[in-house]
Symmetry: C2
Subunit: 759 residues, 2 copies
């Protein structure tokens, strides 16, 4: 292997550092109009009037679009189908009108002139209360809304399999129940049982580039959208449906992403596209930072109540759990099943009963965020596993090793696990000096262990490898590059084809002509598209050798590719340079077929795991928690490019520290966001981020390209759990139950002698 | 067959009729600068001074670029390497500077302010004289020019195989000699020998849209060119070389073509691209009509001297020929070989000796024009074949049938012919009432017969067929659509995949991501790329059936595609709609591979032929020739879409009538173009174009998609020959020797009793 496993810089880093990358908002578009949203100032209200006259009168304003002005061809509930609120405001910050003007400044001024009369309704903000039978509705509905149905209709459609629907409020939009075995009996017979109620807040993905989309219609009626998206094909399909345009007439070009982390999927595209279709002029909508904080697609709050049992030897027995996921005003995206699955941790249970409820509240829409629902789940279950170990006086790592899922085990969802590296990650930490030496730490310091996992997504993928006339290889995919996948594709193609990666270019084509690639999410692009690239490159190599064999009158089997040349084995004098041969193939009058390969893949899940050691110091006077160091050992299948993999691990750990200690979107009692800027919303800055040690564990994924699997989501999952366990170790038992773990919360717990601070 | 052979409209017609097509000059580009060339006012001169100060001072002018200002990385001679004349002007109209300004009008004004001091040299304009030893040079060269070499170097490099280099002037840039057998002996023994000297003029392709290109550099140093081109990949490669940019960093998007006919290949692209690279701003260069007439890439004049012999029974014996091709100031494109080949007509000869010389003169550059050199060749050889028939008193059709090339025969180039339909075309005309009834025509009317052929180009090609989530098929190629090829691709893909063509979209991707396709020229795109499309669609179909087979748990062999559904044979109740299955395949968590196919082709030539009957009336008082009707019988292999094929035949015949009777670019004694507008250059207008009867002959091309072959070039070739022979028939022997056949020329021949007018 000359390319695989070699650390090289991300291909997109250079242009980004040089300022040469053009993000969506930077791409000049002639005749562009700029849009600014008018955001609702109430969290729950009926729209009684929307006076746009003054705004329209402002010179330079082209249109002020209300919900009824959008040329929507499909009805339904949720952000996609309701890019502007029609009659009912569901969260503070929900767009209720869109001003389109000749400049962004004019649009902004005009947005301030739109007068919205809102009749306030009681906002539903308490997640737990919202789920209770008889709770006020987060959406009261009207005869005029969306589908014309009331929330009760949606309610009736919810499959509450195994659950007593009467015990759930009409705000419960989705449920999941995973149940097997005699949970009560197992818990009763357990040597130790621990339980806890955990709360995690709304958290923003924290991407640097705000949500941005530019859309226009071509003169011949094609809708063209350039946007900051992870999901070009899914956006194409969604906009086609929404706007009643044939799928083939919608073209999505995914611009370079300035961060995404799961949050960049069809948030602003429906609005920009609907406006462009309505006005037949190019329209750009770029959210401001505050709008993005208030009105995009962050992770929802969760409440997890878990109860775990174990035998005296540490063998886990049963888990019982109830998970509430705050779906805010999301009606078209449910994560209850995954939330239920992840709440059981990566462990074997004899019996389990976990229910998860997706609950509507009057908060912003819920979106994916790097391993959705996984960090809260790991925080909860890993805290309790740690308590079990403490209770049973078993080494926490040993207890985990004893119970961790292995290949062939079944998850609580009933799925048999393929190759799984959780155990190998724990093994890697077992001898780590931070772990072995933790007894000798100074007072008020502690080391916490946790493990996080992610089942891994998959989606069909295809790719093309094309030899160009100068002998360079072009890899063509339809994947949005969120995490450096193009750098990985280049390595895969170079290794497979047999050339230097400098000779490989990677192109992401737009949806009109790209080979299919799924959404860049679920930690799957390298695993799925990368596999297709590998096959495409292999096919292209084979075809190049066929041509060379014809030219040299020799069997392709006797040829090898060395140093940019094709040569008969052992006869370097007869070598043909690929450059020269390529030029001979690709010209008028050549009788050779082009050297191109097309690869496809269909994958099954390749679950990922990362184990963490977090080393913290807790100030006994103030309760302040400082992370002194963090170690993450992650099974990456195969590190195609260790530099990029380590980057993911560093980034995941840093984001996890944000979850653990800093971040939360705080809404006040009226549902107003009080942390709507980066001054108020605390992201982990470099000075808050400890040295992070990334330990790459390689348990090859059987069907991954060169054994690789997804690496993006796993490293964030277990961080908060490790930090929480470290706090417990440092404090002699203060067990955080709420994220973020605040100085005040720890101080209160230390002050009142409680071992279980509530905040 | 439900799609192949069914006449349907061209897909690009609708948008063009509606005005929705955006040609290169219509595509808005932000920050665009406009370029206007400063054209030389002498045909041959040294540039002694170029004063640009006044031009530069005009407000809005950004730059006035001279040759030395262009950032060229490669040196050489010819239009590509010398987009601006450096020291020596080679033709009147040659760009010597490029003004770039904020608007086209400003650029135009400024171009008028550039003061060029030119020291006139004697222009070399007489093609025959230019080829003679000792002739003045068309390029005197200087130490500073291009490569630093003098024309003598180029001269020395010319391979004058078999020719006496001493008998050729230094203006002869290329030669070809095809020779076999005892020509002198065969002619001596022949029962009849005819000879003639034929002249044809410079002719412009007559496309509606003038040459236009827009180029810009992306912030990260990628050169992006949108242009009206037939040759996206070749343009990419040429610009990369010229400007010293890696091939992969040059991206060409072929915009819809507003006519091309062979003339749209790298005429303005080097200038626009060099300016964009120099200025780092988008630059558009759109030639005016007059500039395009004076300074683009028309067909060169030719002089053909041929001598043909036959036995008494009409069996052809030998041909001797000398062809001069006026290459004007083209130094990088030779057509001598093809000119020599075509001058022999599609006939078997026992012996032949044909030499062709490419001669530099002080005229504009020479370019391809629909079957380059073929109409002059057919005009000459078909006139003489007709004379032979007359001399031998053999029916002209019979004589041609006796000698026409058939499969397995060798051409004068020594190539063994594959399947060839010339005979079938003649056969088709044999019983045509115009032919059988020609003896009964009124006085001064006549019918002429001629045949034209074209060997057919080929180039490697690839294509992708992709099933989309809505069940539609997308065909992706890199071919520029000059003649409706996308409509043909849709038919091929639909037929092969088994769906309605309405369900097939065709996309031409830019060079960064398109499967390779050669230049749209040589009548080969349907034949080469179409074959790749057929294979891609077949592969996609196979893969769709595989998925359906898995879903239905049945063998793919037992499945068929009927009416948009896949069904087990004879069990319509179990059918799955393709739309539904496609949606199931292409989604998150699907375990099926995408349904995509990739096809490639490598073709061998599929020569084309068309036979013509032209019916003319000659006014005996004035000499005016009127074409009353025209019949073209063309072997098209297989008419994938008869409407489009007939369109090609109509267009070819009409253009051929332009060659025969109307068109010529006339330069005066100073080399100045006197026919530089459409008022002065006579294109055949509808009232000059007779009813054209298109007879489709189908002799399937063995390797063509559904038997199809190229159809674009063949129909223009024989027209002028047929018209000339018709004039001879109508006048009792006035045999035109020069194109166009003018009223004055015929009148003079009629007046002086000469049977061979010189004009």
């Amino acid at each position: 292997m000359s390319t695989i496993g070699v650390p090289t810089p991300r291909r997109d880093s250079g242009p980004k550092v040089r300022g040469a990358t053009r993000f969506t908002a930077d791409i000049p578009v002639p005749g562009l109009f700029h849009a600014r949203p008018v955001l609702a100032h109430e969290a729950h209200a009926l729209i009684t009037a929307l006076d746009v006259d003054e705004a329209l009168a402002l010179p330079g304003v082209v249109a002020v679009l209300k919900a009824a002005d959008l040329p929507l061809a499909a009805s339904g509930r949720g952000r996609l189908y309701e890019p502007l609120a029609r009659d009912e405001v569901r969260y503070a910050g929900q767009p209720i009108a869109l001003v389109v003007a000749e400049s962004e400044a004019i649009a902004q001024d005009a947005a301030g002139l739109v007068v919205a009369e809102l009749e306030p309704l009681d906002p539903v903000l308490d997640l737990e209360a919202a789920a209770r039978p008889g709770a006020p509705r987060a959406r009261v509905g009207t005869a005029d809304s969306g589908t014309g149905s009331e929330i009760g209709d949606a309610h009736a459609a919810v499959k509450a399999a195994g659950l007593d629907r009467e015990q759930l409020s009409e705000n419960v939009l989705g449920t999941a129940l995973l149940e097997d075995g005699d949970v009560a009996g197992e818990l009763k017979r357990s040597a130790a049982v621990v339980r806890g109620r955990f709360e995690t807040p709304w958290i923003h993905q924290g991407y640097l580039e705000t949500q941005t989309a530019t859309a226009w219609m071509t003169p011949d009626g094609e809708l063209f959208v350039t946007c900051s998206t992870q999901a070009p094909f899914a956006t194409r399909d969604a906009l086609a449906k929404l706007l009643g345009i044939a799928t083939e007439r919608v073209r999505i070009r995914a611009a370079p992403l300035g961060g995404a982390f799961g949050g960049k999927m069809m948030v602003v595209e429906p609005l920009a596209a609907a406006a462009a279709v309505a006005l037949r002029r190019p329209v750009r909508l770029a959210l401001t930072r505050s709008e993005d904080m208030a009105a995009a697609n962050p992770a929802g709050a969760q409440i997890l109540e878990l109860e775990l049992g174990a035998e005296a030897d540490g063998t886990l027995t049963a888990i019982r759990g109830r998970v509430l996921v705050d779906r805010g005003s999301t009606e078209d995206f449910g994560v209850e099943s995954i939330a239920a699955l992840l709440s059981a941790g990566p462990y074997r249970w004899r019996a389990h009963r976990i229910e998860a409820l997706g609950v509507a509240t009057n908060r912003v829409t819920f979106g994916a965020y790097r391993a959705p629902t996984a960090p809260p789940a790991a925080f909860a279950v890993e805290s309790l596993i740690d308590e079990l170990a403490q209770r049973l006086e078993i080494d926490p790592l040993t207890l985990r090793m004893r119970n961790v899922l292995r290949e062939g085990d079944r998850t609580v969802a009933g799925v048999t696990l393929p190759v799984f590296g959780a155990e190998a990650c724990l093994e890697r930490l077992r001898e780590h000096p931070l772990w072995t030496g933790r007894a000798g730490l100074p007072p008020n310091e502690g080391v916490g262990l946790a493990i996080g996992w992610w089942p891994g997504g998959y989606e069909p993928a295809a790719a093309v490898c094309r030899l160009d006339s100068d002998g360079r290889l072009t890899v063509i995919t339809g994947a949005a590059d969120m995490t450096g996948v193009e750098t990985a594709f280049a390595a895969i193609a170079a290794e497979t084809f047999g050339v230097d990666p400098d000779r490989v270019r990677v192109v992401a084509a737009d949806t009109s002509s790209a080979p299919y690639a799924g959404t860049s999410g679920g930690s799957k692009i390298t695993y799925t598209v990368g596999r297709a690239v590998e096959r495409a490159a292999a096919e292209a190599r084979e075809r190049l050798l066929e041509v060379a064999a014809e030219e040299l009158e020799i069997s392709p089997l006797d040829l090898e590719i060395v140093g940019g040349s094709i040569m008969p084995r052992g006869v370097p004098a007869k070598a043909i340079e690929i450059d020269e041969l390529a030029g001979r193939i690709l010209r008028f009058g050549s009788r050779h077929m082009p050297v191109e390969g097309h690869g496809r893949s269909a994958q099954s899940p390749a679950p990922q795991a990362a184990a963490h050691l977090s080393h913290v110091r807790v100030d006994p006077q103030t309760g302040a928690v400082e992370v002194l160091g963090h170690v993450v050992a992650q099974d990456v299948g195969r590190a195609l490019n260790p530099a990029l993999v380590e980057g993911q691990m560093h980034g995941g750990a840093a984001q996890g520290i944000g979850w653990a200690l800093l971040e939360q979107l705080v809404h006040d009692d009226h549902g107003q966001l009080t942390t709507g800027t980066l001054a108020g919303y605390s992201l982990p800055s470099p000075d808050m981020t400890p040295p992070i040690e990334a330990l790459i564990v390689e348990v090859p994924a059987p069907n991954g390209p060169y054994g690789a699997k997804g690496v993006g989501e796993a490293p964030v999952v277990g961080v908060a759990g490790a930090v929480a366990n470290a706090v417990a170790a440092a404090t002699g038992g203060v067990r955080p139950r709420r994220l973020p773990i605040t100085t005040e919360g720890v101080w209160r717990a230390l002050s009142d002698g409680s071992a279980q601070p509530t905040s």
